[in-house]
Subunit: 445 residues, 2 copies
């Protein structure tokens, strides 16, 4: 492979070549830097080529010295700019944190270093990982949004800037931008990945997730990021599901997949609906269409209530101090969030608990729920937003592992993802099901 | 295998059977508890059978629920009582900390839980992990010391109470008791395993290490315990050597091993000397005997200076407050440590730095140093001490990975270990060399 094409390597390919001494991390990182150029997509909030190359040189030195190499040895990874880094600014998509330098690294940054990864830079996030867009462009069509809030992570992976990027999802901030940009997106079970040192916008709903160009790469990164961290109250003191093994496993029997006929499926664009119908048809008896009770549909509002209430709680001091610096998109959301009473919030948590119980039962019979990842192709930038996260809210609400596969193509030849979500702490089963599904559909075509 | 014999399983065997659903953790843990009985060896500082069984049941529940299993799923592990545990007392071998309950768990406790291990209990340590003996008996001969300071960890593994235990080494507190009790002992490179939440006795010299009945088991536990932890200043932000893979690897070519003719080798008992000579002879040209410069011999005193100085610095407040509660063994050591000046200490650190450079060069030519682990069989309890750590001080001083293999038998049919130590951060190479050596010697016999 020519040096200029090294950015085409998957993370797994790059790591294996580097570990085998057949590729230098500096060459891989340089090829990625060349691909980024002066970042016409505005995917990066912070990028210092020298800082990335210094890390790459160090990883090369370690390998040459015969010292240990890690699973992501010398592979560049982008980090959403809400993840604290001591050595790079962490601006959280707002002028309020311009030039902010956290005192410690997030837990996941330590894990990435232990894995030998090169922290390439910080990717653009919407304001405080909420609704107000960045100026990041969609690599598939620069007149369109890459989605949010992990806008830069999705764009950077889709544009071959880096094979891997970390994002986060509170509503639909991993699955939706992955769908719009045509990458894989994976959000593990709540508690698998520590959030310590990551901007807290909703203790109940915040998740970390990943972007990659293969399912295996996404799973590899999830395994690196997973850890028990008692400083994150959601983190559990048990083994993590083996995501990489799951993504490569064969299904022992053909999986059973459910599809919910939600009323809000009306929001789907015609091309997305047709594409999903074709997937369902191709999977035949493996998919069971299920009617939806009103309670299940209500979960969308429950999610919004918890999100907005907790956002105002966690960030109240910052909101009060910097009100004028907040966007016109965010202020009305905050105003609404402040109107939510503690009783309404607690009622919402109670409904969430019953939804958790519903899904625990549901996944006895089904391996995964098939779902839209987004309403269709990426919306035009002119629409002013980052797209609707509605199809991702339920998995975020219940902490379910979720992923999107870039399987469909819309009427403008733009990607549309297909979402699967599964049982708590059975991410490996979900990944195995996803692997089965994409293999089956590919054989069908 | 009969239920009553389950304590004979190695950690790897136990974990594999549990993960495969062919063994319940509760049965394994119960067999180990039965083996401990009322602990006639005094190996345990804290042991609550119910607390261990509750964890085992939880690991069985997780596996049956189809959730993730870890590399030590359901396997009981003993923890030296200087490792902080919230849920069990941490008394550090002294009445000063009687009933002490730390507020947080040590980093390695979190890693053990993430690996699915059952924390069996706390094993006896000498007073503050220094010289004053516990009342723990050597399982091979109860009239003898198990060695120190990780007395209980060594005894518990040797007596088949648990397949694995964690210890620590500042001078010779893993390698020596492992030698005396006939177990494997491994102390990885300084900085591989985080010491956060472990009693600090010497920032420069403290290491965590492990006891097991096979080299593979020891390596498996080292891999679980290794992590980058920025709260430990010695912890490095790089990949960890793969110990388990190293212990199972074949040497690509026959290794080159060195032997230093230290003047203090005179301290060896006749049976230990004969055994080591036989090992050297059997390995033939693979071992190179090297003369020793005075500088190298001086490292013993350098180690002692740093150890005693730092011990007094770290624990000064505790020493002053609880002087009367300290043993007659420890008080003269402290008195001596307090006499060491800052200049003497800094000179010692400078000599250590030159020794580090010496070994960096040495391990370009050699895969490992062959060395006694201890002067011979375990001393009698009547001797009043826990044996001489002199043969372990150099590897502790320079942070080198070290291990002992239970290869020799002394004149009283008691075990004598053979130590190997190797290059910083090349623990996998050391383990591979050890594996080669024990295979080669076994074939020779």
């Amino acid at each position: 492979m020519a040096a200029k094409d090294l950015h085409l390597l998957t993370a797994l390919q790059g790591a294996e070549l580097i570990r085998a001494g057949r590729l230098a991390s500096v060459d891989l990182v340089q090829a990625c830097l060349d691909q980024i150029g002066d970042d016409p997509l505005n995917a990066w909030a912070f990028l210092d080529p020298d800082m990335a190359l210094v890390q790459a040189k160090e990883m090369d030195r370690i390998r040459k010295a015969g010292r240990a190499t890690g699973p992501l040895h010398g592979v560049p990874v982008g980090l959403k700019d809400i993840v604290d880094t001591r050595f790079m600014p962490t601006e959280r998509g707002t002028a309020v944190f311009a030039g902010h330098r956290p005192e410690t690294d997030a837990t996941i940054v330590n894990l990435l270093r232990e894995a030998g990864a090169v922290i390439m830079g910080k990717t653009r996030t919407t304001e405080l990982a909420f609704a107000h867009p960045t100026d990041t462009l969609n690599p598939c069509d620069p007149t369109r949004t890459p989605g949010g809030s992990s806008s830069g992570s999705a764009a950077a992976v889709a544009a071959l800037h880096v094979p891997l990027a970390v994002g986060s999802q509170t509503g639909g901030s991993v699955i939706r931008p992955a769908s719009y940009c045509g990458t894989y997106g994976v959000k593990p079970t709540r508690g698998v990945i520590s959030r310590t040192g990551v901007l807290q916008t909703s203790e109940t709903l915040d998740h970390l997730g990943v972007f990659a160009r293969t399912l295996t790469d996404a799973a590899l990164l999830c395994d690196v990021l997973g850890s028990y961290d008692p400083r994150d109250p959601a983190s559990f003191a048990r083994p993590r599901p083996e995501q990489f093994a799951g993504a490569q496993a064969d299904a022992p029997v053909e999986p059973d997949i459910s599809w919910f006929d939600f009323s809000f499926n009306d929001l789907l664009d015609a091309d997305a609906r047709e594409g999903l119908d074709a997937v369902i048809e191709a999977l035949g008896q493996r998919v069971t269409r299920l009617p939806v009770s009103a309670t299940l549909t209500d979960l969308i509002e429950i999610h919004i209530t918890i999100h907005e209430y907790e956002f105002c709680q966690h960030l109240s001091e910052m909101i009060d101090t910097h009100w004028e610096a907040l966007s016109d998109t965010l202020r009305p959301i905050i105003a609404r969030g402040k109107e939510i009473t503690k009783v309404q919030y607690e009622d919402a948590l109670a409904v969430k608990a019953s939804a958790d119980a519903f899904f625990a039962k549901h996944f006895v019979d089904f391996d995964a729920v098939l779902s839209p990842a987004a309403s269709g192709e990426a919306p035009l930038l002119a629409s002013g937003g980052t797209g609707d996260p509605i199809f991702c809210r339920i998995a975020s609400l219940c902490g379910l592992p979720a992923l999107t596969l870039p399987l469909l193509v819309g009427e403008n030849d733009l990607p549309i993802g297909v979402q699967l979500y599964g049982s708590i702490e059975e991410d490996d089963r979900l990944l195995r099901t996803a692997n089965w599904m994409q293999t089956t559909l590919a054989a069908d075509v």
